[in-house]
């Protein structure tokens, strides 16, 4: 599903994002990428959804070589990859429903399809009773669930979660992790970028540890070791 072949990302003048990273994520896997701040976790995530281009190496998503992906092809890639962030990135003037529908609207989906998909997605993230609420009327956990819902509307094969629990308390963090596990059970590959030790240990799934931009361990059913 995801293949990195000796990928290096350097930022000018000579800052290392990631260096010589090679990894393979199989379809339906749940992979946590862990490491201290500044070890290249987020760079790895950005390389996955083509926010950054690698300096060297090859990146393939579902057999598609996105190493030097054209700007015009990036939207197509992003409709196949859901992304959620620590800061939710919700539009404050739009309701829960509108925030999720927005992702379909800007992709040119027809209104009847939007009316069909959005309620289903909001049911999955358990927000079907809060369609008309605005983000400010929701808890952090609920806001993150809206963001996850929005990431799911295109039925992505891969969901990248970059520090999704970074702004949440333990209870809300657990809810989000449970939701990600549930989504993974439906067959979506999850790439979780985090430094939340408890969550990673609780998951008992594959853990890739980064240090200074390099993979220092890759363990099935791993634990947060740093």
């Amino acid at each position: 599903m995801i293949r990195f072949k000796n990928v290096t990302k350097l930022y000018p003048p000579n800052v290392v994002g990631v260096q010589g990273v090679s990894l393979h994520v199989k379809p339906g896997e749940f992979v946590s990428i862990v490491g201290k701040s500044g070890t290249g976790k987020s760079t790895l995530a950005k390389l996955l959804f083509a926010e950054e281009r690698p300096t060297r190496g090859v990146i393939e998503i579902g057999g598609w070589d996105i190493t030097n992906i054209n700007d015009s092809d990036v939207p197509l890639l992003r409709r196949q990859i859901g992304v959620v962030f620590q800061d939710f990135k919700l539009l404050q003037k739009k309701t829960v429903y509108e925030n999720v529908a927005f992702a379909l609207q800007v992709a040119g989906e027809r209104p009847h399809r939007i009316r069909e998909v959005v309620p289903k997605v909001l049911e999955i993230v358990n927000l079907d009773n809060k369609l008309d609420r605005y983000p400010r009327q929701l808890s952090g956990g609920e806001q993150q669930r809206v963001a996850i819902g929005r990431a799911l509307v295109h039925s992505p094969k891969i969901l990248i979660a970059d520090e999704p629990t970074g702004n949440l308390d333990t209870l809300n963090s657990r809810e989000i992790m449970d939701l990600l596990s549930k989504i993974n059970e439906f067959g979506t590959t999850i790439v979780l970028v985090t430094h939340d030790r408890d969550m990673v240990n609780r998951l008992r799934r594959r853990v890739i540890t980064l240090e200074d931009g390099k993979i220092v361990s890759d363990v099935e059913e791993g634990r947060y070791k740093l």
Partner: protein
């Protein structure tokens, strides 16, 4: 495609309303530029009309000595009519010239007394020659240097009219140059304002744009609302210009009759007949300019 176009239009209108005051300033500046251009156009029409009017009255008067035989005058007329530059030749016989002079000065006792004292017709025959264009007069005058007629011609007169045309031309050319400079300044300001409007629009919508990119909106979908908004603003500016120009020319046209006499300056007719071309052309030109400026702003501030 239809759904996306509808949403792009929706976002463009949203940009306009969320940025209302800035949009208003942009439209005002575009309007000012277009009004200046239309003032130049009005000036052009008036100048052309004035010059045409003067040119139509330009004629070379060829005065013969009073001893010139009618056969020589007729030969000169035939010769002139044979020239491609000549539009018309009218003959004024010595008697007609005398009668016209008397009619013109019948109330001037001194002149009439002097004429009587002469005891004979002091006027010779003359020709009034009209050309197709003012440039043709030089050739006509040169042609009259033909040895067959040269010695019978007392005077050839047309220089005053040339002066008038040149004065009209030089005055309007100066006004036009000032107007063009003014229009260029307004246009540059308009380009800067459009650039700034788009920049602020991008800044205001940066969150939405970021999310659009994240969820896979195409580059076209992100950029199109800004381009469409500027097309809308251009359309509004052209519409308002037309609303200002038509009543204004209708009001000033009668005032110009003082200068044009019974003939109309033809301003309203000109704008009615060429309205679509004038305002359509201005709209297209404005769209090109605003899209260029929008493109620059997006290139600098909108990373998609």
């Amino acid at each position: 495609m239809f759904v996306s176009s509808y949403r792009v239009t929706q976002f463009a209108f949203q940009n306009f309303w969320r940025n209302f005051w800035l949009s208003l300033i942009t439209v005002s500046m575009l309007l000012l530029t277009l009004v200046t251009i239309n003032i130049l156009l009005v000036l052009n029409v008036i100048t052309d009309r004035a010059i045409a009017l003067v040119e139509d009255r330009i004629e070379v008067s060829v005065y013969f000595y009073d001893y010139t035989e009618d056969t020589t005058v007729s030969a000169a007329v035939a010769y002139l009519r044979g020239l491609s530059e000549v539009r018309d030749v009218a003959t004024v016989s010595a008697t007609e010239a005398y009668d016209q002079f008397v009619a013109r000065h019948q109330n001037d006792e001194q002149i009439m007394a002097s004429l009587e004292e002469l005891g004979q017709n002091p006027f010779g025959p003359s020709l009034i020659v009209k050309a197709h264009t003012p440039e043709d007069f030089t050739q006509i005058i040169d042609a009259l240097d033909n040895p067959q007629f040269r010695d019978f011609i007392r005077e050839k007169d047309f220089s005053d009219y040339q002066n008038i045309v040149e004065r009209i031309r030089s005055t309007t050319d100066r006004i036009r140059a000032f107007g063009i400079a003014l229009a260029v300044v307004f246009l540059l300001i308009a380009i800067l304002i459009v650039f700034n409007t788009v920049r602020i629009g991008i800044f205001i919508h940066r969150e939405e744009i970021g999310i659009m990119r994240l969820v896979g909106a195409s580059n076209w979908f992100i950029k199109a609302p800004f381009l469409l908004e500027m097309i809308l603003l251009s359309l509004m500016a052209v519409g308002l210009t037309a609303l200002i120009v038509f009543p204004t020319v209708a009001v000033i046209e009668p005032q110009l009759s003082v200068y044009f006499g019974a003939e109309s300056a033809g301003l309203v007719d000109y704008f009615v007949q060429n309205g679509l071309l004038i305002f359509g052309g201005q709209f297209l030109a404005l769209v090109l300019v605003t899209l260029f400026s929008t493109g620059l702003a997006m290139r600098k501030y909108l990373k998609v």
